[in-house]
Every structure is written in C-alpha cells, then in structure tokens.
Symmetry: C2
Subunit: 331 residues, 2 copies
Amino acid sequence: MGTISHEVRLKARPEGVPKSSDFEVAEVEMSPLSEGQVLVQNIYMSVDPYMRGRMREDFKLGEVMDGGALGKVVESANSQFAVGDYVSHWKGWREHTISDGSDLAKVDPELAPLSAYLGILGMPGLTAYGGLLVTGELKDGESVFVSAASGAVGSLVGQIAKIKGCKVVGSAGSDAKVAHLIEAFGFDHAFNYKTANPKDEIAKALPDGIDVYFENVGGPQLEAALDHMNIRGRIALCGMISMYNNGPTIAPGPKNLSAMIYKRVMMRGFVTPDFFDVQTQFRQDMSQWMKEGKIKYQETVFEGINNAPEAFIGLFSGGNEGKMLVKLAEQ
Amino acid sequence: MGTISHEVRLKARPEGVPKSSDFEVAEVEMSPLSEGQVLVQNIYMSVDPYMRGRMREDFKLGEVMDGGALGKVVESANSQFAVGDYVSHWKGWREHTISDGSDLAKVDPELAPLSAYLGILGMPGLTAYGGLLVTGELKDGESVFVSAASGAVGSLVGQIAKIKGCKVVGSAGSDAKVAHLIEAFGFDHAFNYKTANPKDEIAKALPDGIDVYFENVGGPQLEAALDHMNIRGRIALCGMISMYNNGPTIAPGPKNLSAMIYKRVMMRGFVTPDFFDVQTQFRQDMSQWMKEGKIKYQETVFEGINNAPEAFIGLFSGGNEGKMLVKLAEQ
C-alpha cells in the first residue's frame, strides 16, 4: 500500500474574502514510484496573496491547488536525488508529491533555514528585489513608500531601500506592526492605515514627495501616493490586495490618476517570473546582506495541512507578520 | 499713441466645465518698442485641453493667459527680425505681443500653411508623435486604440500608427466623426463612445487585444482598454479630458487597475516638452509624410479674439474636429 497523504482542493470559487468552506482537505494514496521518480514529503508550503487571483479561473474546482513548497526526498528511483535531499518546487497545498525531478531545485539546509527558501531567498525575496530595483528603477537615496510593509514582500522592500540609502515610509494594519517596522526593520516612518490618514502621513514623512511607491494594496493608499508622487516617480504594481476580494460591488479606482500626466509618473505591473533573469544577482546580494546582518525577516507559521486554508484566509485579515507559511512535517 | 490690442484674461477659476463668464476680453495699449524689441501681431492662437489644468492655479486671476500662437512681425527694433517675418511663440490669448526676440521662432509660410505650425507641425503633432512612439514604445504592426481620435492629437496618432503598419481603432463623440475617422483617416474601426459600449467595440475590433492605448479621456474608455490590454501593453497618458472638469464630485478611477499586474501593463504620463529631444526627427518625419500625402489634418477655426473663450469651451463639448484655432488677423 502506498503512502497516505493529504491535499487541499478548491471546493468553490471564493466570492469576496475566501472562507473555509471554499476548500476541502482530502486523503489520497500515493502511487508506487516508476523509474526516474522521487517521492517528496513537503516540510513547508507557502500561501500567498497572488493565489487569490488563481482561484478565479486558473485552479480547477475539486482539484488540488499548487504553490511554492519546500520538501525532503523520502524515496528515490532517480539517481540525481538521494533520500534526505531538500528540494524547493511548486507542488504546494499537499503533504507529498511525486516528481521526475525536472521541477525540483536542491537547496542547502546549512546555508539558511529551510523556510527562508520560501521567503527571503525565494519568491517574496525576488519579488521585493525585482519590483523595487527593476520595475521601480530605484536610485540610491530616493524616497520610497511601501504599503502592506509588514508583509513578507513589504518588509524586504523597506529594508532593501534602506540598504540603498533611501528614506522609507511604510504602512501596516496595527500599531504593533507599525512599531515593529520602525524598531526592527529601520523604516524612517510608518503608520497604521486603519486609523491614520495616508495623505497626511505621507505629506508629513516625505515632504519632498515619493520617488518610488511599491504598491501592494490599492484603494486609498494608492490615491494618497498619487497625490504625493514626484515628477518622473515610479509606481511598481505588485498587488492590490484590498481589491482582490471585491465581490459584485467592486471598489472604484483612484480619482486622481490624471495626476500621473503632468507629473510623468510611470506605473507598471509585474509578476515575479519577470525577474528570473536577475535571480543570480538577487541571490548574491541577498545572501551577502543576510551575512552582514542587514536584513531581518519574520515568519508566521501555521501547523498542519488542515490549517492551510486558515493560513491563506489570514493573509486578507492581516493575520500575518512577514512570510505566511504552513509547516507540514518536521525537518 | 500705441497700437490698440485686445487680450483674454482669466476672470474666475472655472468650476467644472469652463463658461464664458470665467473670461473677459480687455483692451490694452501696446507700449512703444525699446531697442531690440519687436511688435508681433498674432494671426492664429491655439486653444488646447491642457490649458484647463493651468486655469486651476498657474494662470493668474485678472491677467492675460498664454499659449501657442503664430504671428507676424509688424514693427521691429531688432536686427534679427524684419517686418513681415512670421514667428511662432507662446504669447497666445492676445492680439499683439512685444518680444525681445528670444522667445520667437521664425517659420516658413511657403513650406506649410501658417496654421499647421500650431497643429500638425507644432505641439499637437509632437504630442502625437512622442506619445505614441516614445512613451507608447510602438512597434510596427501592433494594435492601437486611441480615444478622442478625431481631435487634433488623436487623428494624428491614428494616422502615424497606420503609417507604422498598425491596426488602429479610435473613438469619437458623433457618428459623423466616426465615419470620418474611417473614411478620411484610414482607421480600421471607430465607434461613437456616446452610443456604443467601448468594451464590446474593442473586443470586436481587436480580438487579439491592445498593445498601445493612447489615452485622452479617462473614464469608461480607460476601463475598457484595461480589460483588453495585452501582456506588456503600454498606456500613454496624454490627457483625461473627461476628468478635467470634475467639480466637487470627482468621477472615480477605473475599477480594474489591478489587471495591470498580471498583464504587466505599463502606464506613463507625459507632457509635450518631454519630447523636445526628438523634435528634429519629428519635423523630418512629419514633413516627409505630409509631402507623400500620408497625413491629413483638420482644423476648426473660430474668428476673432472675442470668440477665443467659446473656442476653448468648445473643446469640452466636442465642438471641434481636428485642431481648434482662433484666427485673430489676416495673414
């Protein structure tokens, strides 16, 4: 009899904020390995805001979803992989996966904690790095505003900008997160977008305006940023989490888009695969910064496949600080 | 006694759509010339949508406004300029101006009709050329949508795109204008945005999507374009005329801005002076195209300084086809 595993399936397409009943956890039995295959037991899986978009039509109803994951080879019929090898791959939302090896990348558990390969050294890291430096065309010493700054991506954006000598302002959804941005991550200013007025906060903290806005949320914070963008400022559109869960009544966009005209603002959307060509430079820079103690990161870890839906849903209620992960097995 | 002239002053800052009472025409007496000065009699002055923005705070209340103009030297105390020279300059909204010559550029009345220097060979021409080719990064054979396509800028955008082998769709505000876009300007498709649904029209005419949207209007047409942008499409923000005249109740922005993310759309605002560095190439290309009969243009001409405010107001009611001008004197 094969290994018994569990996986999370999309049961219903979410309307508005996803809820537990949109998902179901199912038991499956893994097939025996064919020649060339390996059985991977996942140790961590990633939940990310972009998955909300994939639930609209990309993920199939009644089938297992996917996403970033980090696992260990527990059986191998492939000479390239030994039992005990750690691998990163894209078959998340499940406890085990069978692979022919072509979609697995070995990672070194000595170089960094395993979970970092799903965070600072993985997709969120590359997202922050590429979005800020490539899409945002950040120059040393500029002024940066980042929304959802205590998230996995936002907290890295702020810290990379600080390394580049920039003045950095961030927003987050609680006073504790705001304090953490300033005290732990070295932001110059931060504010609670639920209680403060974004326009006032930005005007106060960046009286000379914003050169780069790293956009994670949409809504009033985008409108506030547009009001304060500098001539030839850039808006890197990473996400608009406040607008993802809109149901039949979709929130309108910013009223002041035309401010982009005379200020010659550039706004550009991106997805992380756009930055695969700078990945080598990214890994060099990021490991160097980690070594020098210039980058800190946080994780929020849920335990067990049964809690994966709650972890995902928590992304939209601000339930996480830093990277949101689900731990599926011991290392 | 000096020459008697008339000028248009900003009497009140317009709220919403400008009205006649926001302006007043005043009589002034020109001073005698000092050494080095010339007296210019304006033959044409330009009215343009961007002036609405300048009425918000840039133009001073109770003073004469300015803008593009084309005039003739009628008195000269400057050896660089002879009586009878034609000059383009920025002292519009008035019948006469005195200059030391530093802000005057001589134009050749044999090369093109004088009014063309305020249109196809002037600012609107450079706006269309730079916005489409520089900001929009147009490549030969792409698909282009342009709103306000029967305006001075829009009709040139469409024709330049056709010269570049593109498929071109335009919108305008009357069936007659729509017919003209197709029949006279060679657009592949055009629609009346007042009676047709922009999303349906774009989907039908450009089933493979939009590569470049040349944005003149904002509102529902921007939303429709965002829905149909291709991966790595570009939106050149020239104007948002539908949003300029908003009073206390400002129209919201597009609900689907987040479509820019996964489609990696770039949106960039520009103003015409951004393209001064391609002006030589622009003049070469445009005069070549004119010579080859590849470019047509239209003008709507009001007569006399007293009608300048009406000409300007007409821009916002679709009262013009092509470049809107005011003729102030015979050539």
